[in-house]
Amino acid sequence: MIEIRETPLDVAEVTQAVTTPTAGGIDVFVGTVRNETRGKKVVRLEFEAYEKMALSEMEKILIRAREKWPIEKCAIVHRVGTLLPPDIAVVIAVSTPHRVASFEACRFIIDTLKETVPIWKKEIFEDGAEWVSAHP
């Protein structure tokens, strides 16, 4: 399950998608919108994606994760559009036969997603806006 959606994300749905009787552990990472960053109040976030490439990069991450860990099922669902604190921006779920691998794989997936997947977020403050991580 790899998706980009404009509608609210459902943690139970994504967890269900990776649930299988052969797995004993599922790790789920839920990225939520914080109401402040670097001491400034965040009014809302605007997420946008280069959707076709983003889906392809997510697919590559899951392939790499499957090479490293014995993954039963895994899922990445990312939201785009306007989000308010504490809306869910991303849900990643990984099921593995034993739990340690689920934690390691899930962390690898979110870490890599933040480096490679073409999705951008703009933080809207009360007095301005900023594309996150754009400048050194």
């Binding site: 076709k52 991303v90 997603l113």
Partner: protein, 80 residues
């Protein structure tokens, strides 16, 4: 040749639009495109990074472009 370039995030804001036509010599590569773009929009130089995707894949500077390619500017990503 004329290459259509898609722009996202801060790159779109800097260029003032989601798509930009760029004139390049036939056989020009990704490095040549980046040079042209930073010439057109000097604020691209202020970004932490500037990647080019060709047909939905990150491209090396030596990748040769053609008019039929789907080319996109990828400013620093910040998903998750």
């Amino acid at each position: 040749m004329k290459v259509k370039v898609l722009l996202f995030g801060i790159a779109r804001d800097i260029a003032g639009g989601a798509q930009q036509d760029v004139e390049l010599d036939t056989g020009a590569n990704v490095d040549a495109l980046k040079k042209k773009l930073t010439g057109m929009f000097p604020r691209f130089n202020d970004l932490k990074s500037l990647m080019i995707a060709v047909n939905n894949e990150y491209a090396h500077g030596s990748t040769v472009l053609s008019e039929s390619d789907e080319v996109a500017i990828i400013p620093p990503v910040s998903g998750g």
